[in-house]
């Protein structure tokens, strides 16, 4: 198991809602997204080790489009980068911002 953390201080847009999507099932993950006072932070707990670079690439891409100041907590059971991005987009859809 590995814990990974990223920070995106340039994401400053105010977010007021929170979202919970997904389940920690095989090949899937759970996302908790909630407002942050300043900047965005990502905390990942994954059962698969050694994919820090892939996580970084996915979040760099996500925050190239999304600029909300949020805290994102992820519990992952081996979701592929494609599924990760879909779950993140689903969470953004839930907060509707």
């Amino acid at each position: 198991m590995e814990n990974i953390e990223f920070n995106y201080p340039e994401a400053k847009r105010l977010i007021t809602k929170r979202a919970h999507v997904g389940v920690v099932g095989s090949g899937d993950m759970e996302v908790l997204l909630e407002p942050n006072s300043e900047g965005a932070s990502v905390f990942i707990t994954t059962s698969v080790n050694g994919f820090g670079d892939a996580w970084k690439a996915v979040f760099d891409r996500f925050f190239s489009k999304f600029d909300g100041a949020v805290r994102i907590y992820i519990n992952d059971a081996g979701a592929t980068p494609g599924s990760v991005l879909l779950r993140l987009e689903q969470a953004v859809e839930v907060i509707g911002q």
Binding site: V23, V24, G25, S26, D28, L32, T45, S47, N75, D76
Partner: protein
């Protein structure tokens, strides 16, 4: 135009099995009456999984929702089958026990509160073995306390099924609702095969598994009460029906003499097949409600 006749009913049906545990529980309540207790943002996770290299889940795979069903107070406790096989750990077990105890407390105070248990579970979580076993014992004693005042309704919809210690919880409940896709049994097929050999039970023989553990057989034998189609509206209606019926005159586990007699009467000199067993048991009076 022929088009409408070409669309089979199941296309427009809202499948219950396809919903996750949270959506399943929500779908049972009267609109706008429910709220989730100890939800994912409270982050009460299993403290044991991470130590064993397994990612936890923020609700520990147990969803508790309080609201009204058919106008009456009720609480639904749902296990998420996709997370660790819906297994019962320290946290998920404590959530279920606490919810049942609160429902019993409300019921004793003159506000009968039914409990609906959505069980998609393989039983005790092996990573939290002793704590999980203790949790099952607590859940059963809480369910027994509540069922004197308000019905405890179990739904096994599939596709995980309900096995191990949690099948005992289904056993002590007032009513059990199953779909044809669901399975209910103390030992799961893989466990039986592992312990007794493939000659005893072939866990890859799906026809055999469903003939023994399947919803149709369980309801046919009187070990579950109603067989409902995999349709969210129909399952919600079946639950409302059970809430409305209230506490049964006699629970299944109180028919001790009936079941003792049935077991004593079994002829084990030759292999009993599921169809015969269903025929024999269903014909007894009092077993099937």
């Amino acid at each position: 135009m022929n088009a409408p006749t070409l669309v089979p009913d199941f296309v427009n049906r809202k499948s219950f099995i396809e919903l996750d545990a949270r959506a399943r529980a929500q779908s049972l309540f009267d609109e706008g009456t429910w709220r989730e207790l100890v939800g994912p943002f409270d982050r009460i996770e299993s403290p044991w999984l991470a130590r064993q290299g397994i990612a936890p889940q923020s609700d520990d795979g147990c969803i508790v929702i309080k609201g009204k069903i058919g106008g009456a107070p009720a609480v639904a406790i749902a296990f998420e089958g996709a997370f660790q096989g819906g297994s019962v750990g320290e946290v998920s077990g404590a959530k279920m026990t606490a919810a049942l105890d609160l429902a019993a407390k409300d019921s004793e105070a003159g506000k009968p509160t039914a409990a609906v248990l959505l069980l998609e579970t393989g039983g005790v979580r092996l990573q939290e073995a002793n704590l999980g076993l203790a949790a099952v014992a607590e859940i059963i004693s809480s369910a027994l306390a509540l069922r004197q005042h308000a019905p405890v309704i179990t739904i096994v919809a599939g596709t995980v099924g309900c096995f191990g210690g949690m099948s005992l919880v289904a056993g002590v409940s007032s009513y059990t609702i199953m779909t044809r896709e669901a399975r209910l049994g103390l030992n799961g097929p893989e466990v039986i095969e592992q312990e007794s050999g493939i000659d005893e039970f072939d866990a890859s023989d799906r026809a055999l598994i469903w003939a023994i553990h399947g919803g149709e057989q369980r309801v046919g034998m009187g070990l579950a009460d109603s067989l409902v189609e995999d349709d969210a509206d129909k399952i919600a209606a079946a639950v409302r029906d059970c809430v409305h019926k209230g506490v049964p005159e006699k629970h299944r586990t109180e028919h001790v003499e009936l079941y003792r007699a049935r077991i004593a009467a079994l002829d084990t000199s030759s292999q009993i097949d599921p169809a015969t067993l269903r025929q024999q048991w269903a014909s007894h009076k009092g077993g099937v409600r």
